[in-house]
Amino acid sequence: MCTMIAHQVKLEGRGKSGPQWFEVREANVSYDHPYDLPLEHALNIDFVNEALGPGARVAVELSVDAARRLVKTIEAVLAQADERGVLEDIHVAAGPAAGSSPA
């Protein structure tokens, strides 16, 4: 089915699509049909920049187990960096990525 379970989070970051980097402004996180992973449903994350059009997209499609492990790993890495005092919790101002934006 199409679950229509989707959340969007605003982000500041960079993503690479093909040879080009682009400014990532949003991530669309859904639990719905994947395009390539051979499952009926997957945890899909699309890092996008809506201002640049649908092609500005870095996509991952994960099994539920992989998604849970990823979340734990991100938390663990951030916690470790925090413990070592190297966490730079700095807001990154929006701006053009080093590479040109994808068409």
């Binding site: 089915m1 199409c2 049909h33 395009y35 009926e40 996008v48 059009g53």
Partner: protein
Amino acid sequence: MYQTDQYEGMLAETVSMRGHNADVINAYVARPLGAGPFPGMVVIHHAPGWDEWYRECTRRFAHHGYVSISPNLYFRDGHGTPEDVGAKVRGAGGAPDARVLGDLEGAIAWLRSLPYVNGKVGIFGTCSGGRQAFLAGCRLKGLDAVIECWGGRVVQSKEELTPNQPVAPIDFTKDLSCPIIGIFGNEDKSPTPEQVNQHEAELKKHGKQYEFHRYDGAGHGFFYYDRPAYRQEQAVDGWKKVFAFCEKTLR
């Protein structure tokens, strides 16, 4: 069934049409060559997008003698690969029902304006498109047959209602204006066999003309030959049922 000595020709191309709010959107059309008259078919692409499978599906209906139009329901969401555009709509929680119905209404009107259409129009959809096909059969005028393939979320709990899909289609069953065929896999998670039972019970309650076909060994999307859910035997039989229903209701 086509005979080997029979002439056959088809025209398939992208066209413009008026959709919701009289917006101009694009659509893929395939039609048999000849004066007709041919029945019309609106082909609703699935949630993943206005993609190759749906172009093939549109041509498939044309091959079987239907003037077929598949409107791009994501026209307003930007352009790119069907997958990138589909992912954008997926991230937004799907296309709004009201807009989809407006576009489908436009597609029905487009077909009905053609001199080579026989005055009968069906509507076909799978997955979210199956849901939208049923919804169209209940909410729009000018349809003579609904082909609903595994329409997920025809039955929706209150928690599943969203701003884009604010009403469960099953609540409109009493307004269904034409016969419907339903094709379902018994291993589907949505619609589950229990939800298909609910759907059927509601059709029965309101005295609607329907036929439901449920397949063992098949889950969701078992017509999609490019996905692991494909089930050859069930898909072949399902297509036969679909075309038999169309011949009965639209010729």
